[in-house]
Symmetry: C2
Subunit: 213 residues, 2 copies
């Protein structure tokens, strides 16, 4: 499994510092929605500039205006961007077209997207991210949607998982066929973020070798 570091609720300087300090252990760096809304496209540009060899995802959470917003993110240097599963299908398709034109990738964020809706978009050439929202986690109503992951596994699509993920979450995510583990606070709020990223990456790798046995 690959590891994506999600940068949220940080100054741009701290975000870049964290991306650099954990660089060796991460496969993707995500410029979180909070950074995008606080600092604009400068956040994507600066993170990509600081980590030019890393795959950078702009967590745009696109709901509409997909040509313009995709262009913003890709021109700022994003290798991947997110569109909401809850957006109109037309919006998702535009994001896919804009990505394809540039050889980039779309992740469909399934936050608050039910299985019926997911089934309608599961044919899209994208990564599907099962996402337990921060607000649901904090309200105590957020349990990880393994049901969604089973469906996606069955459909044979590439999946990611986000929302309150730490080292302990890794084995079950691996069993669910997740390709990309997205971790935010478990790295960014750790006393030693580099060590936290290393432990997560190690757990991701361990699982893989045991699955290969």
């Amino acid at each position: 499994m690959e590891l994506q570091l999600a940068l949220d609720r940080l100054s741009l300087e701290d975000a870049i510092d964290l991306a650099r300090r954990t660089d060796y252990f991460t496969d993707y760096v995500e410029v979180g929605t909070s950074l995008i809304k606080e600092f604009g496209m400068r956040s994507v540009f600066e993170v990509k500039k600081a980590c030019p060899d890393k795959l950078v995802m702009a967590d745009m959470k696109i709901m509409d205006n997909a040509v313009y917003e995709s262009k913003l993110a890709f021109e700022a240097g994003a290798d991947l961007l997110t569109v909401m599963g809850a957006a109109p299908v037309e919006t998702i398709e535009i994001c896919l077209n804009e990505a394809e034109k540039r050889g980039r990738t779309v992740m469909i964020d399934l936050l608050n997207t039910d299985l019926e809706r997911t089934a309608k978009i599961v044919h899209c050439p994208a990564i599907f991210c099962v996402h337990t929202s921060k607000d649901l986690q904090e309200s105590g109503n957020g349990s990880f949607e393994f049901e969604g992951l089973s469906f996606l596994k069955e459909m044979g699509v590439r999946t990611a998982a986000a929302g309150g993920i730490g080292v302990k979450s890794i084995p079950s995510l691996q069993k669910s066929g997740v390709s990309i583990v997205i971790a935010g606070s478990s790295i960014t709020k750790a006393a030693d973020p580099s060590r936290a990223a290393a432990e997560l990456k190690e757990a991701c790798m361990k699982g893989m070798s045991s699955l290969e046995c």
Copy 2:
């Protein structure tokens, strides 16, 4: 009916210039999602600074992380912000709490939110915005959701309407009980934006007096 100018896909300078030139005819100025994602909270701050007596809405389209994102928008000077109807109910409730604490207002954007879902959140103390997305308009699949408006009118809640609105749209929106008409391109792309805003505002006012007769 009141008139909201939506500022999207513009430089910050042009956005502020348009807000000022149409100031006399608008009741609200909306800092569009595209401006927020391109320039960050600076866009909200600069528009409010340029129009301190105008009600400024930050079209945050919140899907998650509602405490942090609400704080960003309100501290940048927004009088109102948007949360998606498609977001988890917990997220909508957090936005309402954050707004209430500060005496501000929440607009719930019903883009791609069906009636069943709308019925679950219609009790919220917010403005409900029926929204035909830009991407749906451009794909030719977007017709205005008068069904949604009828339901909201029946429920007696305050409503707004957005998406491809021009002067011709006003009479039917008025019949549907809409309180706030949100116009973007029909003003910002007009040869004379001030005149376009004046005509829209006049149509809003005319309808009102004929309804009063």
